[in-house]
């Protein structure tokens, strides 16, 4: 009997992931034993430092590419670029939470390592080249998020949100795993390369094809749940509203971004299956753009509005994935970056207005903000303009790239829907601006701006402007990061 072959493992390729996860594990212990209660901010700073170290550790990997663990995990510039985006999202989400948690009396040190674990799950998803590791990443991310959603423990809304998310998430995970099983049954592989090789050997037997198609559809549905595509989006507004606002901010950009990134890799690897992905994705994208934006239209609760708006944005990003083989992948990466920064900024402003015991999420609480806090109002206006896609902001450039790529890729009718729904979106975004600048305050809401929050809003605002005014360097970087992907 042959001895068991242990495949060569190159841990170098996983440096950022290992640092994030390892640091998070260590931080859990450090937090319990060394950080006194009431000074849990220290844990937060340590977590940010860990994310920063992971980011720096990624720099030498820029010119490296390869796969390890029998090709289950890959490192390329695409995954590295996403890793950085996720690290930034994580760090900013921690920064806004530093003062949010004590102010709402839910300060517990676990928050920060949990966010780090979630970031680790996201990185794992970006690096996965196998459905099994992909599932692992999704679950690592999801389970931490279930906890984080219910983190505001005594508050009923938070608990309810956590429960809902857990039930529906488990539901969706079941479909995902079942899909993987069916695909494995049909092709005998779970790795993207193996599945692609099977697809190349056409024609296949009818039963196998049925199995494969059903499996692929279920996997797609699993993705759709994570990305919150209509009609698998129902959980989003409730969960966002109930969870602590920093968590909602993190989810709106993180989960979505990671799932979209993995979906992009899967669709690119299984190009043979394009003919069957495309019609489904097209319908899902159209429904998502329309219903997401329509849902946001009637919201007077800003947090719910942002939840719906994040659904709508996922629809736009999906356009980029559908034409990834052409210039869509670049547009996709740019949009993810722009959307991440802008949305985190908008949530930052929301957090600043949130007081203990009562949530100032009603759009009326924004009335007259310009008179009380001109700079904050200007920053919020900037984020709203960016989300609406008004130049010269990052959101405009992102939409511009996505729509051009989609149009060139022959998705003219989807671009039309995209543009029309953007027009609808402009209404509810600009309504916030009108409230802030042109109306008198309805009631006294005193924004609390702390150092972490200020920094986060400043970074997000400046980045939103820079990406809109001088997109060229970022676009070049994005283009280079996709060389290895063969996109």
């Amino acid at each position: 009997m042959e001895s068991l072959q242990i495949p060569p493992v190159d841990l170098r390729l996983l440096t950022p992931l290992l640092i994030v996860v390892g640091w998070a594990g260590a931080l859990l212990l450090i937090d319990v034993f060394f950080v006194p209660d009431g000074r849990k901010k220290i844990t937060g700073y340590l977590a940010i430092a860990g994310l920063a170290v992971a980011g720096l550790a990624g720099i030498p990997l820029w010119n490296l590419s390869g796969s390890t663990f029998s090709g289950m995990l890959v490192l390329d510039r695409y995954s590295l670029a996403l890793t950085w985006i996720f690290l930034i999202a994580g760090a900013l989400s921690i920064a806004v939470a530093l003062d949010y948690l004590p102010r709402h009396a839910i300060e517990q040190g676990e928050y920060y390592p949990l966010i780090m674990f979630a970031v680790g799950g996201m990185i794992l998803m970006a690096q996965s080249a196998d459905l099994i590791t992909l599932f692992l990443g999704i679950e690592l991310l999801s389970i931490t998020l279930y906890i984080l959603t219910g983190f505001a423990y005594p508050r009923v809304a938070s608990e309810e949100a956590g429960m809902k998310y857990l039930v529906l998430g488990a539901f969706a995970a079941g479909f995902f795993v079942y899909g993987i099983a069916l695909i494995f049954g049909a092709t005998g592989a779970t790795s993207l390369a193996g599945i692609a090789a099977y697809l190349g050997r056409q024609p296949f037997a009818p039963q196998e094809e049925t199995l494969f198609l059903a499996g692929a559809s279920l996997v797609l549905i699993g993705f759709s749940f994570k990305i919150a595509l209509v009609p698998f989006h129902m959980w989003t507004p409730d969960v966002y509203e109930g969870s602590p606002t920093p968590v909602a901010a993190f989810m709106s950009v993180g989960t979505k971004g990671a799932a979209l990134a993995a979906l992009l890799r899967v669709t690119l690897a299984l190009e043979e299956a394009q003919t069957f992905w495309l019609p489904i994705l097209a319908v899902l994208a159209a429904a998502t753009m329309i219903l997401g934006n329509l849902g946001a239209l009637g919201q007077s609760n800003l947090k719910r509005m942002l939840a719906y708006s994040s659904i709508g944005h996922a629809g736009y990003i999906l356009l980029g994935i559908m034409v990834a083989a052409e210039r869509g992948a670049e547009a996709f990466l740019f949009y993810i970056l722009a959307y991440t920064l802008t949305n985190l900024g908008a949530f930052g402003v929301l957090i600043a207005l949130e007081q203990r015991g009562e949530a100032a999420w009603s759009i009326d609480d924004f009335a007259g903000l310009y008179q009380r806090r001109p700079l904050l109002a200007v920053a919020m206006a900037l984020f709203m303009f960016s989300l609406a896609g008004v130049p010269p902001t990052a959101g405009f450039m992102g939409k511009f790239f996505i729509f051009t790529a989609a149009y060139a890729g022959g998705l003219g009718w989807l671009v039309l829907i995209g543009v029309l729904t953007s027009a609808i979106a402009a209404y509810y975004y600009l309504r916030v601006v009108v409230k802030m600048f042109m109306q008198e305050p309805v009631r006294e809401v005193r924004p609390e701006l702390t150092r972490g929050l200020n920094t986060e809003i400043l970074i997000a605002g400046v980045a939103t402007l820079i990406l809109g005014l001088l997109p060229t360097p970022i676009v070049l970087l994005v283009e280079r990061s996709l060389v290895a992907l063969g996109g």
Binding site: S217, P279, Y427
Partner: protein, 644 residues
């Protein structure tokens, strides 16, 4: 060395920035603004001295700072230049500009918004310098629009007065008509030549061509429908001509300039007499190669200039407002310059531009001094006999009036004579006769104005007239000296200006015609004496509401002249009113019922759709799971049934 010329526009710009952001006190504002324009003048003199040291064919200093626009085919460097033509314009702008800045310190004293005034004035100088120094059409256009903006801001400077803000809007709107044509002309140049640079320029080691050197390439090309082809050169130059009629207040767009007198008087002197309104003349001179290539446009230029000179000159006769006389006179003199351009006498046009810039600034500042000394009186019927109360103003005004009337040997005589002599030697007889008549009329109304203001007895005794302070009279004296000796730059025997401009305009000196000069002088002296005599004799009878003494010689024509040939009324009837009616129809019927109905309808539609979406959001996990499952069934069903 090249960077030196950047200081010329940048110094006034620094003044603008300081006045906007730093300075809050009146005294500091005036000193800083004036000082920086004087400094700009000094730098200009130094730079021009350096320029004149170069050999004749190399007299063009170019300096490019950065790629302003760099998008594939369209490349526009942000560059300025100094060549002989630009040099004389820069001297006029900074020199007269500096004097007017100093004068403004006295004139605007006590105004609550004086800092803003100086900020605008400095911005104007900056923009005017970009207009004349730009090395391509787009920089010229930047300045062109910039001075238009400053003109708008300064006409409406006292915006509490309805007539001032109305006049500002009118000036802006009328100029837009010209500007639209100018933009089209610019686009046509770009389409034909692929560049907007006047001359070849090297940017970062790469040579970009200039269109003025390549005009011969497009001669013979036509555009337009097959049955009515138009020469390309004609199309381009005609569009530029329309642009010039707006900025230089030519027929049929001249109506904004008389109203522009609602601004402060130093502004009228600087912007609406000496510099900005000459921008059109400068632009046509700069693009002389384009205009020369189209005889059709040239005859249009000539006739527009001649008609404008005559219409405005006759209108100036019948005005009572001291500044409106000068305003119509400015339009008329601009007509002379444009006519000179149309005849191809570009040197004469620039010569007249320079002398006119000096003596018209002098007249306006003198008028400002009169207005100041009579406590804001502008109606000449309320003046009279002021020569005793304001001697300095009187003597300097007399010099300016003489120069405008064309009395030997003042500056205006030489430049006007050169235009008339050119018309004579090139057999433009009908035009010559009209221009000659206009010059007689000019002499007449200046005689009339001097008589009305300074002779006889003061007709309104409600105010006590006094001479203005030193800060205002010194610029008057300086300009008066300029108006006396300014003609020396291009005397028929020396023609220094012709030689100086030769590298740009390649023109030979015009022939001096002694007979014409004698007739013109006799006519000028006679007509101004006549004007003076009529209004001195009847000085006592003139009163507000009464008829003009000349009325009994001219009859009802006088009313028409007073209304400037009813052009304003005509435009109001055929353009403004129909437009207002269309506007009110759109605003009160079409917009609320058509557009708003549509927009609000769409809004309501989407709002209700949004409500429907919200109805599904029950908050129950079971509902969500159900919808999820429905989605799964639909996707799976679709895939398994239709994809295979």
């Amino acid at each position: 060395m090249e960077w030196l010329i950047w200081l010329i526009p940048l110094l006034p710009f620094i003044g603008f920035v300081l006045n906007v952001f730093v300075i809050r006190r009146e005294r500091a504002a005036g000193l800083v603004a004036s000082g920086l324009v004087v400094a700009s003048f000094v730098v200009a003199v130094l730079a021009i001295a350096a320029l004149s040291g170069l050999p004749e064919e190399e007299r063009r200093i170019m300096s490019v700072s950065w790629h302003w626009i760099n998008t594939g085919a369209l490349q526009v460097p942000f560059g300025i230049m100094l060549d002989p033509l630009t040099a004389v314009m820069v001297l006029l702008v900074t020199g007269v500009g500096a004097l007017i800045h100093v004068y403004s310190i006295g004139y605007m004293h006590g105004d609550p918004r004086v800092v803003r005034y100086f900020a605008y004035l400095n911005l104007f100088i900056t923009m005017m310098l970009f207009l004349v120094m730009g090395n391509n059409m787009l920089i010229l256009f930047l300045g062109w629009e910039g001075v238009g903006l400053c003109s708008f801001l300064l006409i409406g400077f006292w915006f509490e007065r309805a007539e001032a803000s109305d006049a500002a809007v009118k000036a802006f709107v009328v100029n837009r008509i010209g500007d639209a044509a100018f933009i089209l002309g610019m686009l046509a140049i770009y389409a034909s030549f692929g560049t907007l640079n006047f001359y070849e320029v090297s940017v970062g080691g790469q040579v970009q061509p200039g269109f003025l050197e390549r005009v011969p390439e497009i001669i013979g090309q036509t555009i337009g429908p097959v049955w009515q082809p138009i020469a390309l050169t004609t199309a381009i130059s005609f569009l530029l001509l329309i642009g010039a009629t707006g900025k230089s207040a030519q027929f049929p767009l001249f109506v904004w300039l008389p109203d522009a007198m609602a601004g402060p008087t130093p502004v009228s002197a600087l912007i609406h007499a000496a510099t900005m309104v000459t921008g059109g003349v400068y632009m046509m001179t700069r693009n002389e190669a384009l205009f020369a290539a189209s005889p059709t446009t040239q005859s249009w230029v000539l006739w527009i200039g001649v008609l404008t000179a005559f219409i405005a000159g006759t209108s100036a006769i019948a005005q009572w407002d001291i500044k409106r006389v000068l305003a119509y006179s400015t339009v008329s003199q601009l007509g002379f310059m444009v006519a000179a351009c149309g005849m191809g006498a570009y040197v004469a046009a620039i010569f007249h531009l320079l002398t006119h810039g000096i003596f018209k600034a002098l007249l306006f500042l003198g008028a400002g001094s009169v207005i100041h000394g009579t406590h804001e009186t502008q109606d000449m019927r309320k003046m009279g006999g002021l020569r005793h109360a304001m001697p300095t103003t009187y003597w300097t005004y007399l010099v300016g009036a003489g120069a405008l009337a064309g009395i030997v040997p003042l500056a205006g005589f030489w430049s006007k004579d050169e235009i008339l002599a050119h018309a004579l030697s090139h057999d433009h007889w009908p035009q010559l006769i009209i221009l000659f008549l206009t010059s007689l009329i000019t002499a007449f109304y200046m005689g009339r104005q001097v008589a009305l203001i300074f002779f006889g007895q003061q007709r309104d005794s409600h105010y006590h007239a006094h001479e203005s302070g030193r800060v205002m009279t010194v610029p008057l004296i300086a300009l008066a000296i300029g108006a006396i000796i300014g003609g020396a730059i291009n005397l028929p025997w020396g023609h220094w200006l012709t030689d100086w401009l030769k590298p740009v305009l390649h023109e030979e000196a015009g022939k001096f015609n002694l007979a014409l000069a004698l007739i013109a002088t006799a006519g000028a002296v006679g007509a101004s004496y006549l004007g003076w005599w009529i209004y001195t004799r009847n000085a006592a009878k003139i009163k507000v509401g009464g008829k003009d003494p000349a009325y009994r010689y001219s009859g009802d024509i006088w009313d028409g002249l007073e209304e400037a040939w009813y052009f304003d009324r005509l435009y109001r009837r055929i353009i403004v009113r129909p437009f207002q009616r269309l506007g009110s129809f759109l605003a009160s019927v079409f917009d609320p019922q058509g557009i708003d109905g549509l927009v609000l309808g769409v809004g309501v539609l989407f709002g209700q759709a949004g409500e429907q979406v919200r109805r599904f959001q029950s908050g129950y996990v079971r509902t969500y799971a159900l919808i999820f499952t429905a989605g799964v069934v639909i996707v799976l069903g679709f895939v398994l049934l239709f994809t295979r």
